[in-house]
């Protein structure tokens, strides 16, 4: 079985400060990793995903994430956040066989002016 752990349920950060949202997964097989964002009253949308290749993945809105196989992590980072980044962020994992797609419980990012 797989699980996804988002260690922080809430992250407040001041505008223009850097932020890191943490995600760890458990799996004994190769996985695919995703970060989705949900703005208030909107559906989830993809920020970025890791399928293979370079472990540093760049996404939309200046976000990036690094796949670390030895630490089974896929942390999301942004060097300078904006008020508009206030949202719920979900890490997710899937694998290349079977009907399995798992989300984490989400991290609520609040950017403080």
């Amino acid at each position: 079985a797989q699980s996804v752990t988002q260690l922080d349920s809430q992250v407040p950060v001041f505008e223009e400060a850097p932020v890191e949202l943490r995600c760890n997964y458990s799996s004994s097989v190769s996985v695919y990793l995703f970060w989705y964002v949900q703005y208030p009253n909107q559906g989830l949308q993809l920020l970025l995903k890791y399928l293979s290749g370079s472990t540093l993945v760049k996404g939309i809105n200046g976000f990036e994430a690094e796949f670390n196989k030895s630490q089974t992590s896929f942390h999301l980072r942004k060097p300078s956040v904006h008020i508009s980044d206030t949202a719920e962020y979900f890490c997710a994992v899937s694998r290349n066989t079977g009907n399995q797609f798992y989300f984490g419980t989400g991290t609520s990012l609040t950017v403080i002016p």
Binding site: V4, Y32, G43, L51, F90, S94, N96, N99
Partner: protein, 116 residues
């Protein structure tokens, strides 16, 4: 704009009274998904359609059914809602799906179900 639409956004039903949630898409995607998201929990995949092929997650209760009459529409039927079924229900689509879960999923805004 191409999108995923869920109606209604808020649904109230009574304990044991069947309810149907709707999802439509203008993306012409092959795959449609239904997720259940309870308060402060992760969205949980209930089932998905790859074209007309229905795929049920092993732990999805029998109380939950789905229909996909055509490419654009997918319905979630809850035959006898219990209090524990109160949640946000998310519909999503992806272009292909094939046998690996690498595709980007496109989500609707969700329907919040209240069971009285």
């Amino acid at each position: 704009d191409a999108m995923v639409i869920q109606n209604p956004r808020y649904q109230v039903t009574q304990f044991g009274k069947p309810v149907t949630l709707s999802c439509s898409q203008t993306l012409n995607h092959n795959v449609m998904y239904w997720y259940q998201q309870k308060s402060s929990q992760a969205p949980k995949l209930l089932f998905h359609y790859y074209d007309k092929d229905f795929n049920n997650e092993a732990d999805t209760p029998d109380n939950f059914q789905s229909r996909r009459p055509n490419t654009s529409f997918c319905f979630l039927d809850i035959r006898s809602p219990g209090l524990g079924d109160a949640a946000m229900y998310l519909c999503a689509t992806s272009r292909d799906g094939s046998t690996s879960w690498t595709d980007t999923q496109y989500f609707g805004p969700g329907t919040r179900l209240t069971v009285l």
